[in-house]
């Protein structure tokens, strides 16, 4: 594509390998992008379930999930709307620990993450294992606010952030990949920011 008349880079070049293609550093702000009404969720009634193709369908209450080993993610996040945010710190538990408790069956190779709002997003199981995904309730050491998915959201920071379902309530293991909410609505099935897999039609 030809250059745009009169347009020049304003931002200094980022350190190599830090900013995926087409992204910019949003700095200190954290934009809120949500497709549905933001819910008010009561932690006393909150649960998270891992079920579907697993040996032991398991549900955690708020008290129970905090008994699991605490895990932290420190790093960057990338939104499909082109902002990236560097050096965020989330606290919660590793999805590996949740899956270990539930015991995925061999044919359960895909996951649908469900939120209490009805939002869904699909992921290959391989994107949720090996220390790449968390269920989190702290941001910067403080409780995660509801507009950012609190009390508890999924965190899959190596994929575009719509995969990190806000208000997550269920991880359902499936044999076949099925499109979730944004994936049915024109967005890419995998969403790797380094390959710029934003929309259907991207390779």
């Amino acid at each position: 594509m030809p250059t745009t008349r009169g347009f020049f880079r304003r931002r200094p070049a980022e350190p190599a390998g830090r900013l995926p293609p087409g992204q910019y550093d949003v700095g200190g702000s954290w934009p809120v992008l949500t497709a549905e009404a933001t819910p008010h969720l009561d932690l006393d009634a909150w649960t998270l379930t891992v079920d579907g193709l697993v040996e032991r369908p398991t549900t955690w209450t708020w008290d129970e999930i905090r008994q699991l080993p605490k895990a932290t993610y420190s790093g960057d996040i990338h939104c499909v709307t082109t902002w990236s945010k560097f050096d965020v710190v989330f606290g919660g538990v590793s999805v590996d620990d949740l899956l270990a408790a539930a015991g995925p069956q061999p044919e359960g190779r895909f996951v649908m993450a469900h939120s209490s709002t009805g939002y869904t997003t699909n992921l290959p199981l391989a994107d949720l294992t090996g220390g790449k995904a968390w269920v989190v309730w702290e941001f910067g050491g403080r409780p995660l606010t509801r507009e950012h998915g609190g009390p508890v959201r999924l965190l899959v920071p190596h994929l575009y952030f719509w995969k990190s379902a806000k208000w997550v309530s269920r991880l359902e293991l499936m044999a076949e990949d099925q499109p979730g909410f944004w994936e049915r609505n024109g967005y890419h099935d995998r969403g790797d920011p380094w390959r710029e897999q934003r929309y259907q039609g991207d390779q």
Partner: protein, 240 residues
Amino acid sequence: MSTDGSIDAVKATATAWTTGRIITKDLPTPDLVRLRMHVEDRARHRPGQHYLIRLRAPDDYTAQRSYSLASDDSDPLVEFLVERLPNGEVSEFLADVADVGDVLEVRGPIGRWFTWDTRTPALCLVGGTGVVPAVAMSRAARRVGRMDLLRVVAVGRTPEELPYADELGHAGATITYTRQAVADRPAGPPTASEVAPLLAGVELAYVCGSSRFAQFAETLLIDCGMSPQSIRVEQFGATG
């Protein structure tokens, strides 16, 4: 542009980058720019969908942002209304540098959630430049002769600052200003007594505006009896 006016003829398709030429440009206010563009190999769109606009520097640095369409599918051009944000590298370029005849990289239409099917009774509660998708929905309603199905409540600070206020007003929208009394209406956001009567028979609500506006609008709609599951939200913030 379209030959078949029915919404079902507008199919969801994968999109690719193409180019668009700016045919007209005007600034309705110093901080709002309206661009009308001719898009090569344009696909049909549903009201509420958006496009990406991508700018490319000589060193191949690119910046892209999403902008909702104000135009109807039947319009030979696509129309964007963009707010100039402080330090917004794309919005400032579009407002201050881009000119008629310039060719920009564009991609769309994108998004199938925040769209109206022109058949479902719906209400738009929109604020500031969040009126843009409601303008597209209103134009589609007019084209298919079903303006009875779409109710619009548009919220601005003052009449000078609210884009498309005249067009929406002529289409029957309820216009409210938070900072200025107009006619008999005192300054202030829309109230439950203004919105609740408009919800009779409404099955879907579309909320578009800043994050702060969206929080206000969701609360108001739920207070008026709307189910949270029937509210679709499009928010924008510091993504300039």
